[in-house]
Symmetry: C2
Subunit: 343 residues, 2 copies
DNA sequence: TTGTACGCGTTATCAC
DNA sequence: GTGATAACGCGTACAA
């Protein structure tokens, strides 16, 4: 009925008395046609209401312009904003994104990667942490990881070490008697380990009294409250009367800690100084705006796609020269001072 | 060099002395082969390290299994969580998602849709509000919209009217002297208009003293603070000494309002009752957990994809029967009582 | 159960 | 500047 078949180059060729080849050239190298003929074809496209079919083009020239993304989740602001910024690069680079949520399930993610390869993605951006960089490197397509183990593949990461230094230095500047870092145990292979190292290095360099509390705080708000409540009780006893500088794993945790203090004291006590990490919305939206170390997500995303595009372009050459060593880019974080350190 | 060409059905056919057809059948209808031959082919796939090429399959059978998504932004929790839940449906339905961030730019979004059509998406999910449902209906592919004007296309929306009723009833139950709804002006075509209507209907039904304040609160935290500060000042004067029940457009705004009150009084005054909307993380993470109306994002996402899948399946039949009328599904919101109403 | 031949809608190569 | 023809890799009547 009205379900007329799609218009193809053949139809246009017949309609205009050109050959398919010429129609193709109209799209890919219009200058090789006379202006007049360009107009004729342009009109034919209008008349017949032609719609391009990039699937056929892919099969013919092998370029999908697809980038695959594996991301563990979108539940937290960091990940959703990163995806946001990655997707926005379409405007600059023209690559389309096929997105999968990995959820930390290794076998599932392996399956997703297989599916992505079946769709002939030209490159992969991986934010998930389950699959080793060795395995990713074996995929034989350009790969860029963000903020995860990256020994064998290209990556873009925040300069976590610098972040740790910034946060710790800020606390040190306030003459805290004890500097405390609250975090989970982290492997030195993971970029975020740098935060711990930065904290330790500054403390040692300045010979500051310090302590690291390793604890898994949990996924739910209730668990975080419980666990941080316990930590807080301990700190209150152990360091009563001392100026406490606390550098905590992220802003969500910082906010929980802050709320516990506010509930107990009605305000942030003068002997507490808190710095979070991420510059996530909660850090501004908290009752008392929280000082934090901001990751430049837009830059990270842009660099990741750039790095991938470079490699994908290399792949398209007749004799691609593979990278000898993976490239690791590092983006400086920004220290943001708010009221939890400047009261 | 090591860049040997991709293995195709032809290679496997030669290797196994079957025909291409048989190899194809191995994938699409394995039971039509003897078990022994299945094993032979399976082994050959291993030996040659075959990787499937779905692009070629698309060209041959026309099924891309692509769904396009246009989403205005991922900056707020509602949108990123919706995308999250939509992407997760891959496990159930197998459709892959091509995602574009529209950013509210009409012409850009039109461009994105064109690109999606060129990749032969089988259906489109639109969360953006710029392009009219009339225009979307003309695309000639199944479309489902979420929480936007939907006159001419299928949609899934929260039952905003019910949400308005829930929030207002909760405030009414607390014997507020004045019920206030703070929102931006909303067209009756938009689902969220139901919140306003629900508020009004309950107020009229119960003959409650009420007022709606229409105001654009702004995008930045600072602007919201300023605008809500002004509104609050006015309320404090106008309704001094009265029990004020405030139903406000969303949890972010509710939190700003709450923080303003806490800063002024050190606690939430007894004569204030606040209900937000969305059940976004901030509503639990606020100093005083905020009562809110929670949208069931997981259900909305699932229903949206289901609805789309049904239509896409219909399209694949020999004689697709188009829907006479667009289907509009409605998901009930959940009232969540927290401390801003239960103090 | 298996094979032959052709189609899907482009691009690439080589002619003219 | 333009055209004929062969890829690209798989699905599918139809035939055997």
């Amino acid at each position: 009925m009205s379900q007329k078949k799609n218009i193809t180059f053949d139809d246009i060729a017949k309609y205009t008395n050109f050959s398919k080849t010429t129609i193709s050239r109209y799209f890919n190298n219009p200058d090789s046609l006379t202006l007049k003929n360009q107009e004729i074809i342009a009109k034919a496209l209008e008349d017949l209401n032609y719609k391009e079919n990039k699937v056929a083009r892919i099969l013919a020239n092998g370029k999908t312009e697809f980038i695959g993304i594996i991301i563990p989740t979108l539940h937290n602001h960091y990940h959703s904003e990163m995806l946001n910024q990655i997707l926005l690069t379409y405007k600059q680079f023209g690559y389309k994104f096929l997105v999968f949520i990995g959820n930390g399930e290794e076998e599932t993610e392996r399956q997703y990667i297989k599916e992505l390869l079946a769709y002939k993605i030209e490159g992969l951006i991986n934010l998930s942490f389950t699959i080793s960089s060795k395995e990713l490197a074996d995929l034989q397509i350009p790969v860029v990881t963000i903020e995860r183990e990256d020994k064998y593949v290209c990556s873009v990461n925040t300069d976590n070490y610098m972040g740790g230094i910034q946060a710790t230095s800020l606390l040190a500047k306030h003459n805290c008697d004890i500097l405390i870092h609250i975090n989970t145990h982290t492997s030195p292979d993971i970029p975020s380990y740098g935060r711990i190292k930065g904290f330790l290095d500054i403390c040692k360099e300045k010979q500051l009294n310090h302590r690291i509390i390793y604890k898994v705080l949990g996924d739910s708000y209730e668990l975080m409250q419980k666990n941080l409540g316990e930590i807080l009780n301990e700190l209150e006893i152990e360091y009563a009367g001392l100026r406490k500088g606390i550098f905590i794993s992220n802003d969500t945790h910082a906010n929980v800690l802050l709320n516990l203090l506010i509930k107990k004291y009605g305000k942030l006590p003068d002997d507490y100084f808190i710095v979070g990490f991420d510059n996530s919305p909660i850090s501004r939206e908290a009752v008392i705006p929280i000082s934090t170390v901001g990751q430049q997500i837009d830059k990270i995303a842009f660099e990741a796609v750039s790095l991938l595009v470079e490699q994908m372009n290399e792949q398209k050459k007749r004799k691609p020269i593979p990278l000898k060593e993976p490239i690791h880019k590092v983006i400086t974080p920004l220290l943001i001072r708010r009221e939890t350190t400047e009261h």
